[in-house]
Symmetry: C2
Subunit: 407 residues, 2 copies
């Protein structure tokens, strides 16, 4: 196969800690192939393609690329634009003008749909174009993949955060509620379980978008845990909804709106704050705190799963390998051992615009925690390098002063 | 000096990532001294003393102590109780009953005041007691200290977070507002400056409790930055107040109260959410996001400054060294080189119930950023191990398609 032309690569959607690994994996592999005449990067994802906003990566040094690979978030910047057919046609016209023959888009399920539509245009016009989608998402919600690059590093951040807040909450007690990313899939919230080391450690309760959230059950769960341990740590997804699919934050706000008439849904501290007030008011517990992990969890500099970094690099490398052998599709990660993976190229329509959620066997019967099956699934992804936690072992001293004074 | 008796140690106030280093430093040093017959730990700070809730640490293995030292937050748990004179007298009575001759309290300025009062009772009663305060606080607000253990690790967390959100905000643009800990002293918020690597990186604006916050100035600052860079990253302390000392969050909420009639001040996302709405409404910027770093920043597992860990260990070790030589007081860190420190024992009344704030030379004239003097001050504390950030260097490609179609 000797398809000569330019390569164009872009990054879309929410950043991850390892999305540049995939970018660099694809570029380094492309530099080995003389059929790829130039390597262009589109700035701001698909927007950069229709606006013809390209930078020439052909002359990037290997050293700088390796440094970019370790930098969190999207070095080519990103976009939230979801292209329609007309937009994709324009993308295709710009690519054809530049003799782009290899098109790579690093992103989630919307991005794979974009790749699919652009490829269709090229086929219809008999323009030879290889188009490959490279997976990424902290939500871990792509079909056909055992897991997706970006998830494990975010999960590691969540695990380390919970190892810390566990000790913090043990020191000062009370109820702690953490609101984590995840609108439809609860994988990241579920990963908080890796914060647990000792039997009485938190998270004690985990609420996921996959399970309808009932405020009364939540309050009972918190009450029971607090009575047992004198404290309670809760992890919940921003996307939790009631049985009808209405987001819990809307339910709690009721008809109240902010100063500008909006009901705030996410990207703010509202859900955590409202549940905090519920627990204080209904259970009479004084010390109730909440944190919304927000943007910290998805691209934190310096907390990266080594497995995730390696696989993110490899999906990029594999994308180029498939491409220079004439194959279009989406690179998918399959688990083949405990623990190893293989990469396959799957048809774009199997990924495009679809969402994977937590399988039932990962969630306990009560819908307020995860199972051992989930822990077995997530542990090798995050790796062996979580910070260790230890406790003092000293025995309790007899209360001789108190006894004496009681007499 | 041959004062024989038990040692009692406790931890108070908000946890830090290295507070157990100090605990273990004091214990390991005490185990060398035969005059110290037993080592007791009080559970939950001063509450554990009046309730005679002790654990016997005499038989802790060195290996386990070294593992506890690396565990974040307070292994002996903590308390928010601020003892009055009567409370301190009760503490003293329990200590006398157990023949405690060496008393150590790891904490902030309130804790040092407690140590001072207990020591006074002992002196009045002619009971020989050595009492030493061991400093800790992420707020870095203790008098007599160049800096305090716990601060540098929290500052490192903030720096790493900003290295990440910088790239995140660069990828998706808009305004990002981070609310950081600091009621009176802005050191931790100011440390966000270490997130900046490239000239156009954030944080672009830093607001501290030391400078009266004017919403109009803030909006103008954000507007100017956004027009220049197409984005704007703001770091601000939870404790920012107006000229009259009224917290900004109260000002923004106005007379509105939550469902339970409270005005929320901190420990929630209100300040960030309210400023987000202000920027959206007054400046018409669409993508405005805020994170409240909350409890993540003070005891995150796995993000520790090596300098901080070492010094936290040493202040504990020094506390015992001073104590077994009959000296009571508060261990203080003095900077003696760029970079090294020395430890001194200072009188308790010089620390007790006093608060240090950012010196003027650390804040710029406009009151919306820090100076080079602050960067020089904080850099050696956080250390050389911050994650590196790199950018692609590729040149912009000529817009030949756009030009052709314009003709």
């Amino acid at each position: 196969m000797h398809l000569e032309g330019k390569m164009l690569i872009a990054q879309g959607g929410g950043p991850t800690a390892v999305i540049n690994q995939s970018l660099v994996g694809a570029i380094l592999e492309a530099k080995k192939n003389p059929n790829i005449t130039h390597i262009y990067g589109a700035v701001n994802g698909v927007d950069g393609i229709v606006n013809e906003n390209f930078i020439d990566l052909t002359f990037e040094t290997e050293d700088n690329l390796l440094r970019v690979a370790k930098t969190p978030s999207s070095a080519l910047r990103s976009t939230r634009t979801k292209p329609d057919k007309e937009f994709c046609e324009k993308m295709f016209e710009v690519m054809r003008h530049h003799n782009v023959r290899y098109f790579f888009y690093v992103g989630g399920n919307d991005s794979s749909d974009t790749v699919r539509i652009v490829k269709e245009f090229a086929d219809k016009e008999d323009y030879e174009l290889i188009a490959v989608h490279i997976p990424k998402t902290v939500d871990n919600d792509l079909m056909e993949n055992d897991h997706t690059p970006g998830f494990a590093s975010a999960a590691k951040f969540v695990a380390q955060a919970f190892r810390g807040v566990n000790q913090d909450n043990r020191a000062l007690e009370g109820v702690y509620i953490a609101v984590l990313m995840g609108r439809h899939a609860g994988f990241l919230t579920a990963s908080s379980v890796l914060g647990k080391v000792f039997e009485d450690d938190g998270p004690h309760l985990i609420y996921l978008p996959e399970v309808p959230f009932k405020i009364e059950n939540f309050l009972q769960d918190v009450k029971r845990t607090y009575e047992k341990h004198g404290r309670c740590i809760v992890a919940l997804s921003e996307g939790i909804c009631d049985e009808t699919g209405e987001p819990i934050v809307v339910k709690l706000i009721g008809s109240e709106k902010d100063a500008h008439g909006n009901v705030q849904l996410s990207g703010n501290g509202a859900l955590g704050d409202l549940l905090t007030e519920e627990v204080k008011a209904k259970l009479g517990i004084k010390r109730v705190r909440s944190d919304t992990f927000g943007y910290l969890q998805r691209a934190f500099a310096g907390v990266v799963s080594e497995v995730d970094a390696r696989e993110a690099r490899e999906v990029g490398e594999m994308a180029t390998k498939f491409a220079v052998h004439g194959q279009s599709g989406s690179v998918a990660i399959k688990r083949i051992a405990d623990y190893d993976v293989a990469y396959e190229l799957v048809p774009l329509e199997k990924i495009a615009a679809k969402t994977r959620v937590m399988p039932k066997e990962f969630i306990n019967k009560e819908g307020n925690f995860v199972t051992k099956a989930f822990i077995d699934y997530v542990t090798p992804l995050v790796g062996e390098t979580l910070p260790k936690i230890a406790r003092l072992r000293g025995k309790t001293v007899e209360k001789s002063f108190t006894k004496k004074n009681e007499k």
